[in-house]
Amino acid sequence: MLLVHSASRWLESHPHGLYVRPADVWIDPARPVAFAAITHGHADHARSGHGAVFATPETLAIMALRYGVDVDSSDNAAFAYSEGFTRGGVEFRFHPAGHVLGSAQISMIYRGERVVVTGDYKRRADPTCKAFEVVPCDIFITEATFGLPVFRHPPTGDEIQKLITAAAAEPERCVLVGAYALGKAQRVIAELRQAGWHQPIYLHGAMERMCALYQDYGIELGALRRVADTEKAEMAGQIILAPPSALHDRWSRRLPDPVTAMASGWMRVRQRARQRMVELPLILSDHADWDELTQTIAEVNPEECWITHGSEDGLIRWCELHQRKARALHLIGRDVEGEGETAIAEYEVRTPEKAKG
């Protein structure tokens, strides 16, 4: 155990999560605990096996879908944005993080001191989730996935247009987009619809249930079809979505000469995109880029920043240059390279058969 801050003896950073001692609550723990508050449904934040889960209704529904968490169990509790609960004298509250459907920052007030844990977040518009809210606090615990100044995500509309152009450019081929099954896939679909792409969008089996869940929450995704139920020829000139791990797998052999695309913030770096054998990199991320990270710190204007998973060094250096107090927290199990979503993709890919039934 490590006491991370003298002013916050009540909040402990352990390798497998943040522990709120007076409340006996863990935030996004990497192993099963009695009481867990969860920021969002990605597998590196939401694990199975907790005694009681506190989260937004959408996150609970996602966990129910993935791990069979019992939404109706009296142990678990769902809280809408700006609602919360008090436990052991700590006042917890959920605020929109703009990362994926149901994603939340968790704020905590204990003896007058206020801490915000962002989980993963972004600042730009996303038609599939509520926009990030600036919550003033004393200690701001922020992610740093793209915590280097080389990461500046271009406008979303430009990247979506690249995708549409590619589909039209080679009508005998299809465009196969690697996108994580939770969040990125639905966002790409919703953005395509906004940009005027009204043709059916074809899905890898592993994405179906999550898309249906989004649709249940009123997010318009238009006509979706299963690749498995479609003739090869029908998919020429069309857009297909699959988890990144399926891009170069045997699964993709059933597609008509796919142009391999990948929607991720890492696509900003050319050699990274090349390593992943991507033909059409789409710089689309559900994480804040460098400008958003630094802008958010400035807006929240905390006494102190604690920086977790990602390029902590870069963001800490920025804080130093701007006379801000900052320190790195080293949490394990945060899947930075996969933009926090690889584990899920793997999980989803292994269960497509189950998804059918």
């Binding site: 280097l148 271009p154 993709s252 770096v269 054998m277 870069g314």
Partner: protein, 541 residues
């Protein structure tokens, strides 16, 4: 600069050769002179701006970005040009500014062309280079900045060889690639005359007065069991160096490799060795320890030559330790006369007359193999255990020197390859159409302690059917994953063929194979019975 930046970007991510060709060809047809010519020069690495260096770019960035943040970013991105392109501050949004002034967008600022960029970079001196580059960077977006820095620093790394770019030119304008190759070295960027000819606006140019590259005449492999009539074909040894063309025209001398790349800077001793205009075709080798039959023919193995290849500058010690010479196969031009239309017999006569007049330590004549009988030739070929001999060449006596591989004219008859039974150790996914298959295999042989040590890597030699089987095997027998690489159970024996094997400090086994390929999957053979390192060591020559 926009269309060029877009082309570079597409090329980086395109793996298919045909698609690369189509992308470049399309660009060359769409873009006007001289922009497209400069783009070709950039793609073929024909541009050089000595005052612009990576260290200069780094210093330039230091005015904008904290040194520590730059270092962290550079580490992450792995490329100075790309890091700088991403970190350079975006200029003010011009469309907004113009909108406010009520001006039409696009009218006010002229798009920065690649020609303008080349012109400004060419004018750079060490004193003002940083300022010029900074000014150019200010006018471009991130992709444009990347293209600019790559162009300025060299090393495009877009997976396009000079040969491929020339092929794209030939494809774009439907002209013979041999002509493009031939003219290429005679014209300087931005190649206006070449485009004029390609588009049919001018006659086929003539460059006989310039030291240009003539595309090589190449040979087909001789198929098993085929015997040729030696009355019609001359036989000579195929030497194991690199094929070169040495051209002298006027006072200029150039040395070209098989692909038409200039390699003269690595071999200065050859550039000063001619005193008469001529074009010679031969094998570049290094003098060695008595290999090649007799003292006069002595050449070292390919390994020795490798010490000299690809060097930008050569030390005196290099020149002394690995002296280069050319073993002459043919003469293509002499005193300005093109000899290529003459039959081989006549060119050979001229070559035999010419060879003794050249510097003896820099040139010798590739000897003909004196035999009238094909069966006897076959025996000589088998008996040739010399490291500098790769096999036998058979050349039609009445054939002119023509570019490329023409049926029936020249044959190469390589020595039978060496083979070894190796055990598959690792597999990696292939590229392009093989991206979903584990198609690149590393294999090893046993050492004295009963350990497997890698001896090579191969990704060819098998059929599509065998590839499917191998892919299945890898997936079912994976014991470890390292990124794109899978380690497999050491149970599968592969029969590997290779042209030769050499000592290598790079590999733990101390061995490196030349042209390894998989000839057979030996499902019948237990891994324990695969070959030993010591057996392979004995094949090193």
């Amino acid at each position: 600069m926009k269309p060029f930046a877009a082309l570079i970007d597409r090329l980086i991510y395109t793996r298919s050769r045909n698609r690369k060709l189509a992308l470049i060809a399309d660009y060359l047809k769409r873009i006007p002179d001289p922009d497209r010519g400069w783009a070709m020069a950039a793609l073929t690495e024909s541009l050089d701006f000595p005052p612009i260096k990576a260290t200069m770019i780094r210093r330039l960035l230091a005015t904008w970005v904290d040194e520590q943040l730059f270092r962290l970013s550079r580490q992450f991105v792995g490329d100075t040009a790309e890091t700088a392109a991403l970190l350079w501050p975006e200029g003010p949004d011009l469309s907004d500014e113009l909108g406010r002034d009520g001006q039409e967008i696009g009218e006010a600022t002229e798009e920065l062309t690649i020609s303008a960029v080349v012109e400004q970079l060419s004018g750079a001196t060490r004193a003002n280079a940083a300022e010029i580059v900074a000014h150019l960077l200010d006018q471009l977006d991130a992709d444009g900045r990347y293209a600019l820095l790559k162009l300025a620093l060299g090393g495009m790394r877009v997976g396009v060889s000079a040969r491929l770019a020339k092929q794209a030119f030939a494809q774009a304008f439907d002209v013979p690639i041999d002509d493009v190759e031939e003219f290429w070295h005679a014209i300087a960027p931005p190649y206006d005359a070449l485009f004029a000819w390609g588009e049919g606006r001018s006659e086929r140019p003539s460059f006989d007065h310039l030291p240009f590259f003539r595309p090589f005449m190449l040979a087909h492999p001789l198929e098993d069991g085929v015997a040729l009539d030696l009355n019609h074909y001359a036989a000579e040894w195929k030497w194991d160096g690199i094929r070169v063309q040495l051209v002298r025209s006027g006072s200029e001398v150039r040395l070209f490799s098989r692909g038409g790349e200039e390699i003269g800077q690595s071999f200065p001793e050859l550039l000063s060795a001619l005193d008469r205009d001529m074009v010679l075709d031969g094998e570049l080798m290094v003098r060695g320890e008595g290999q090649g039959g007799d003292a006069q023919d002595a050449a070292a193995s390919f390994n020795a030559l490798q010490q000299r290849l690809g060097r930008k500058s050569v030390t005196k010690k290099m020149l002394a330790d690995y002296p280069a010479f050319v073993r002459l196969y043919d003469v293509l031009a002499l005193d300005g006369a093109d000899l290529r239309p003459l039959p081989w017999t006549e060119r050979r006569q001229q070559l035999e007359a010419l060879a003794p007049t050249l510097l003896p330590h820099r040139f010798d004549l590739s000897r003909l193999i004196a035999t009238q009988d094909f069966a006897a030739l076959a025996q000589l070929r088998e008996g040739a255990r010399d490291a500098a001999i790769e096999g036998v060449m058979l050349k039609r006596r009445d054939a002119p020197y023509v570019a490329g591989r023409r049926a029936g004219l020249w044959y190469k008859w390589k020595r039978d390859p060496l083979t070894a039974d190796c055990v598959m150790m690792y597999a990696q996914r292939g590229n392009g159409r093989r991206a979903s298959f584990y198609s690149d295999y590393s294999f090893g042989c046993w050492n004295e302690d009963g350990e497997l040590l890698p001896v090579g890597k191969a990704y060819s030699g098998f059929t599509d059917q065998e590839l499917k089987w191998l892919d299945r095997f890898v997936r079912d027998h994976t014991v470890n994953r390292f990124g794109p690489v899978r380690e497999v159970e050491k149970t599968l024996v592969l029969e590997v063929a290779f042209d030769s094997i050499h000592h290598s400090k790079r590999h733990k086994s101390g061995l490196a194979m030349r042209f390894p390929r998989i000839v057979r999957i030996r499902r019948d053979k237990p891994a324990a019975e695969a070959d030993h390192i010591a057996t392979l060591m004995a094949l090193v020559r």
